[in-house]
Each structure stands twice: as C-alpha cells, then as structure tokens.
C-alpha cells in the first residue's frame, strides 16, 4: 500500500532549506489526525490563518508555514532579516493593530461571535439528508469557505488580544520586575468569565437538576448515554430531565471530544461524553463555585493592579491602564474562542461529510460513514455521482492501518535540521515574537533550580501547592478515571476538559505557556498548575503520589 501523500507533506530536502526548525502543533494534532482533517487543516486553516498573519505584518516574522507529516502538522517560520523590510513591516504592523488598541470593543468585540454565529446558523439550517448530491457538495464548499473565514478571525483575534498581553508582561518586567509566572502578574489576569465556562455552567445546572429530581443515581450507574436514556424514558421526572438535556445539546452540543479533529461524534450524535461530564459534577461533593471565586479574584486583582501601578512611571500609567484592560481579555479569548471557532465550525463540517459518508456506505463504496474521513476531497468528489461504481474500501483500510502506525509511533515534537539543537527552539520563538507560539502553544522554557532537588521543573501557570495521586490522562476518554483530589497529568488539556478542573487539586502539563488552556483554567479555579515539564506524562504513573509546587515551578514525586 502506497503511503498517503499530500502536496503539503513535509519534504526534508526542500523544507529544511526554507527553515531549520519545525515544531509539531502539540495542542491540535496529538494523536495524529485522520487524512481528511489533516488536509482540511493544512489547506483551509493554513490559508485563513496565514492571511491573518500576513495582514498583521509582525515585524520579524513573515509567515507560519504548515507541513504535514504522519497526521501531524509542523510549523516553520520565516525570520525577517532585512532592515528595509523590517521597517516596512513595522509600519504595516502599526496600521494593523491601531484600531484594536484604540477601541478594542468597537473594532473587535462581537465581530467574532456575531459574524461566525451567523455563518453557523445558515449552515445549521441546511438539511444534509434530504438534499441533492450537488447541493450537498455545495454545502461542503460552504463549510470550507466558513472555515477559511473562521481561521482568519481566529488568528486575528489572537494577535489583537495576545500581543497586548505580551506587552503587558514586557512592561511589568521592565517596571515592576515581574513576569508572567509571578503570582502578582497572574492575579492581574485572573477572574474573568468566558463562553466555555458558561456552557460548562449549564452542565453543572443539569447535574444539580438531576440530583434534585432524583435521577442522579441512574446516571451514575449507567455506562453509556443510551443505557441511561432507556431508564430515564420510563419515568416522568426522567423524561423532564431528558428534555432539559436536549435543549442544552441542540444549542451547545456542537462540540466533539477532540478540539481539532472530526472523526469522533459530536455530543448531538453521541451524548455519552456529555453524560460523563455531568457525572463528573455529580462526583464532586464540595465543587468549585466559579462565581464565588470571581468575587475574591476581583478583589485580589484590584490589589495587584494597585501594587503594579505604583511601580509604573507616572507618564506611562494612562497607556498602561488601557493596555491592561485589553490584555485582561487574553484568558477569556484563549478559552472562549474555541466555542466560536473550532467547536462549531468543525462539528458542522463533520456533519456535512458524515452525510456523504452515509450515502457512500449505503452504496457500499465504503464500509461505514466515518470511513469518509480517510479520503481526501478530490477522491470523494471523483466518485460523487456514482459511488456504487467504486470500491474505496482498500484505500480506506490501508489508511486506517497507516494511521494506526502513526498513532503508535507518534510524531517527534520538533523536526530539526542537522546542526540545530532543541535548545535553539525557544530562542528561535523569542526572536519571532509571535505570542501564539511564545505564550500559548510553547511557553518559555523552565530554568531548573538544582537546590530544590525536584523531580521535574516547569513554568508556573497558576500559583499554589497541592499534593495528591497523579492521574495521567492521554485523551478525553481517560477523564472518567479522574477522582476527586487527583493531580491531573497531561501532555496538554483542551477546553472540553474544563469540568475536570472541578475535581482535581492541581495539574502538571508537558507543554504550554501562561495562556495555555490548563494555565488559564487553573487560575480561574484557583488550583496550582505547572507547565512545560516536557515529559511528565512519561515519567509519572497514575496512582503515584506527587506534590505540585506552582510557587516554585517544580514537581516532587512523593513515592517511586
């Protein structure tokens, strides 16, 4: 079986010539993507996001190249060296960012939500089951167009929100001698709501409602959603609770276990993940009340603001306060954008492809509808009007096996040209000054303090100290194993994992900076988080007692 080839596959010869350092996008493509999603990201997201980056005109960073390798995407960068080009880009950057600095709300707030939700509501109204094949493919193309636009706004939003965050840290370093791992800095940016929290709050309400109606035991005992529903259907209270659940799902069920992939069903198709989240809320006895937290965080934040402001020169204060107000949205954007960008867009695109998959499966071109995710658009289009004439199963099976192999092997975190070392990577990112990579995806590298004799060193994402039993979580499926009081250990976390933060006492994360999901959510929940420990998931085993010290940026193993 010939290996799957994309024209955007990583080509060592050509691509290393372009740039020596290529980084795996660990927060989106681990485990490896299906071929169709890889195509989708490598083309559509690359186009939209690339457009936003081109418009942003970062002075030293021309472009983010995307290349695929075994279901993973690697990013390569283009450092600008020429002084004249830098000067031109600086002017371009200033023109780009000014309106958002001048009036962030008028020029941005609402744009993302309003425009994208409008697109989604149009896509949602389309009936994928009764339409003609031609119209169905038009609908797929419509999903593609929306994806490109979503990618553009997604990346634009990051720049206009996270660059102020980066500047805030820069000014805090300069004048107050604190960086984004300092407790005072973290207090400045904590205590803000976001869309994902609001959705999770609805799940919490459903859990409370289940308890009030006395259907919680039934939920706790059931292994899957259909089993639970069968029991619930038999009683009035059960049916009433199910009605509320469906009301929730119709509005907010457009999400999948993985943030960036569409092979797994949405919550509307398979309600088990939603039930598992509700069970997680039912498990906790003294759950975290975010609203109550926020009041305390607000007063801590105001205190921190006064403290930092005292060390800002008088002539800078006006600007600083304006900057602070924008930068304080960084965490909310880091979380909330997933709802407006990835969750809805990818779920609707999945729905379109599944509709094609069902037709192809009925005509025996493929075995099951989800086989469609192992084909590329050109291949799907080739047989669109007569799938019954082709047997695509050998292709699908070959690729399923190939992906299995990708999953077993895993993608290396960096592809480095000979003569380049891992130590060069952080430096490379700093030079580029792209906050997406510097503050969210990668974060700064930890500086180990040998005196601490810690077992792992990381950077602080949310302060505090906690001890507990480690729970290593590789994917959302493992989340159900998490017990109250555990310390979560993961390569990274996703917005759909947020409810688990109600259960855990702390988190140890392989990769990420102060705007990574776990850091943002950890701060809002007030639990310690250490990030960028690099190989926590390999060195820690589930059940091992550990202490996470997020005041020192260290992890201690309390037993072997």
């Amino acid at each position: 079986m010939k290996n799957l080839q994309f024209y955007i596959d990583f080509d060592p010869e050509l691509d290393f010539q372009a740039t020596p350092i290529w980084l795996l996008d660990i927060s989106h493509c681990v485990p490896p993507w299906t071929p169709l999603f890889a195509w989708y990201w490598g083309n559509l997201f690359a186009f939209g996001g690339g457009g936003a980056k081109a418009d942003a005109s970062l002075p030293f960073d021309r472009v983010t190249l995307m290349r695929l390798r075994n279901g993973g995407v690697y990013y390569g960068f283009s450092l600008v060296e020429d002084a004249a080009e830098i000067a031109k880009r600086e002017q371009g950057f200033k023109n780009f960012i000014l309106p958002y600095l001048e009036d962030y709300d008028a020029n941005w707030h609402g744009v993302l939500e309003t425009e994208l939700m409008g697109h989604y509501s149009r896509l949602k109204q389309f009936d994928v089951d009764t339409c003609s094949v031609t119209d169905l493919w038009e609908h797929v193309e419509d999903c593609f167009r929306v994806t490109r636009r979503m990618s553009y706004l997604h990346v634009l939003g990051m720049y206009i929100t996270w660059l102020p965050y980066m500047l805030l840290e820069y000014m805090c370093k300069q004048f107050a001698n604190i960086d984004d791992t300092h407790p005072t800095f973290l207090k400045l940016v904590t205590g803000f709501d976001n869309k994902i929290f609001q959705v999770d709050k609805k799940l919490l309400e459903l859990a409370k409602d289940a308890r009030a109606r006395g259907v919680d035991a039934c939920l706790m005992e059931c292994e899957s959603a259909p089993a639970a529903f069968a029991t619930l259907e038999q009683t009035d209270v059960g049916r009433q609770w199910l009605d509320s659940l469906w009301t929730f799902l119709r509005e907010d069920g457009w999400r999948m276990p993985r943030r960036a992939e569409f092979i797994e069903p949405t919550w509307i198709e398979d309600q088990t993940p939603a039930i598992e989240m509700i069970k997680m809320y039912l498990k906790q006895t003294d759950g975290c009340d975010l609203d109550a937290n926020r009041e305390r965080q607000r007063s801590e934040r105001e205190h921190a603001e006064r403290e930092v402001l005292a060390s800002i020169p008088a002539v800078q204060r006006d600007h600083f306060v304006k900057l602070l107000r924008i930068a304080q949205r960084a965490g909310s954007y880091a979380e909330g954008h997933s709802y407006y960008c990835e969750d809805y867009c990818f779920s609707l695109t999945r729905r379109a492809f599944m509709a094609i998959g069902r037709r192809y499966a009925a005509d025996h071109a493929i075995n099951e509808p989800s086989d469609i995710f192992f084909l590329l658009p050109e291949e799907i289009l080739k047989v669109l009007y007569a799938p019954q004439m082709y047997d695509l199963r050998p292709i699908v099976n070959g690729r399923r096996q190939e992906r299995q192999r990708w999953c077993e092997e895993g993608n290396p975190p960096f592809l480095l040209k000979e003569g380049t070392s891992q130590a060069d990577v952080g430096e490379h990112l700093r030079l580029l000054g792209d906050p997406i990579f510097y503050k969210a995806l990668m974060g700064s590298m930890p500086t180990p303090n040998p005196d601490l004799k810690a077992d792992l060193y990381g950077v602080i994402g949310s302060c505090g100290v906690a001890e507990g039993y480690a729970r290593v979580v590789h994917s959302e499926k493992d989340l159900r194993e998490v017990q109250p009081g555990d310390i979560l250990v993961a390569a990274n976390t996703a917005p759909s994992w947020t409810p688990v933060f109600h259960l855990i006492r702390g988190a140890i994360i392989d990769r990420g900076g102060s705007l990574a999901h776990a850091a943002v959510v950890g701060r809002e929940f007030g639990i310690p988080v250490v990030l960028n420990v690099l190989d926590g998931t390999r060195k820690i085993r589930s059940g091992q007692k550990v202490r996470v010290d997020a005041n020192l940026g260290a992890v201690f193993f309390l037993e072997e």
Binding site: P59, F93, K94, L167, M171, P313
Partner: protein, 354 residues
Amino acid sequence: MGTQLVLALDQIGRERSNLVGGKCANLGELLRIGAPIPEGFAITGAAYERFLEESRIGDQIKEALIGIEEAHELDNLERASAVVHGLFSQAILSEDLRNAILGGYLALGRKCGAESVAVAVRSSGLAEDGNDSSFAGQFDSFLNVKGEQQLLEKTLQCWASQFTVRAMMYRKKRGLDLGGGPMGIAVIKMVEARTAGVGFSADPVTGDRSRIVLEGSWGLGEAIVQGLVSPDRYVFDKDRLVLIEKTVSDKDMMICYAEQGIQQEPVPDARRRIACLTTAEATRLAELARLIEDRYGRPQDFEWVIDSHLPFPENVFVVQTRPVTVSGVRSEREKAEYLADLMIHMFRQYRGTR
C-alpha cells in the same frame, strides 16, 4: 488667518494657535510666562497654504483624492498617499517661502552664535475641531536637522505627513476633510540633553495637588516617553519646594543624537545607578512646575531637558506643557499610538537581546 509666513516664538501665544498650530502657540505661551524654552521660530499655516497655491499641489491633491470613498478603501488610500507624497518630494518652494524659512533659520543661528544650528522640526497641527490633542502624534516630527537644505526638506516632509495612510484613515473615520488643512511647524533649537524627563505639578495618579512629581533619565526624553527605562523619580512638597521622596532607578538605556536623527544606546555602567539630576536642578524644575501651574491656573504635565554644556541654572529648559488630569488627557488614539510603538519596541528588544 494672518499672512506672515514665519513668526518668532515671542510673537505668538494661544491667540495665534489658528495660525501656527497648538504646539507653537504653546511654546509662545511658555515664553510669555517666563519659562525657559529653547530658541526657535514657527512656520505658519499661511506658509503651507501659500505653498499649495504656488506649487499648484493643492489642486493635484484634490485630484488624487477623488473617488477615494469607493470600495477597496485601503488600496485607494495607499495609492493616493503614494501619489501625494510623490508630489511633495518633487515640489520646489518659491523664492518667498525659501527666504522666509531660511531667514528664520539664519536669525536663530545668529541668536545661538552658530551656523547650521541643529533643530527639531515638529508638526504643529491646526485642529479643525478646536481640540489640538486630536491631532497629536498624527504627523511626523524630525529631530537633529542640520543646515538649510535639510530644513527645507524636512519642512516639506512635515507637511506631507498629513497624507500618510494612517493620518488619512483617521480623518476619514472622523468625517474630517481628507485633504487635510493648514499646518504649522515648530523649528526649535535642539538641546543637547544630558538629562530629560517629564514633570507634573500635581500627582498624576492620586491627584494630590500638594505634590510635584518629576521623572527623568539620561539622554533625550524619548527614553521615558517611549517607556525604554524606569526613570528616577523626585517628589516635592509644592508649598515648601522641599524634596520629600527620591528614587534612583537602574537606567540601562538612553536615546542620543546620531549623525542624523536619534539612536538608542546603553548607559555606561558607572552612570546607570546615579541620580540624573542634581538637587539644585530638581528644585529649579519644581519651581518651574509651580510657575507654570500658577500661570495656566491648573495642574500641568510638562516636558523638560537639561543641557549638557550650559552651566546651572541656564541649562534647565521646558519644552512642552499641557493640563494634567488624574484620568489622563491623552486621547484614546494617542494612547493606542503609543502602545503600538511600544509593541514595535518590544519586538526589537526580543529580537536584539540574545
């Protein structure tokens, strides 16, 4: 509007701001109240209008701006901006204009006892809405300009800076005339700054009017205004003019003149942690803060410079003042401009420090 093309600073004050722009008028005011300002003169808005007329550029600008309301606004603005800048760069000043401007320059040189005296050429916008600050930071300024040829060039460039894409977008957004309006220019002798900074005749944060706050650093004031350094800080009791608080910071960077324009330099280690003002200089500045506030009748936010060659007290200069309010007087636009520049500076720093 008057017809004089050039005016000495002692001939102008607030009442002439519609002829010379806010910045020039402000300097004239300072001079009137007895604050020490560097020597200089103003090129008036009438000179600009005269230039447009004589060179026929005025009509050509109007032509270039026709149809700009159409679609693809940014493209159009960029094209128009390039066209207008081209017009200015090829323009030739009439004999009258040249003579007036160079006459002002010559007189300035005579006063300073030097030929080709180095000057700052700063745009001084004539606001249509009567609010000077609405134009602040919109147009270009040039530092360390030397010689007749350079002065004429920079004058044209100052005028042309009304037609950057940014400035035009700003006007368009506010429904102002895209073609801009008359603009004044302040030509001021450069002070070779040993130390520079800002002063507040009331605490700008708490609003405490019994305090005077000074912030200063080595080299030109841009280092503080651009946020490159943590400045030294002096707090005075306003009534008694007594220094009640002094904080000396580690000032690692300064901005100095280069061959042309300005450049960033590291501060020599020996000076980094040393106070940038003597107590006498600081006290003199506090006195000036009180004087300016008295004359303007409300708390002021002013910029000052200490000359490196002159003896005390002749070395102390005030270069700019405006009212201070606790919430700040800068427009949202100005703050945004500032932050955007600071971001660019941040990128450079991340790039530069390995």
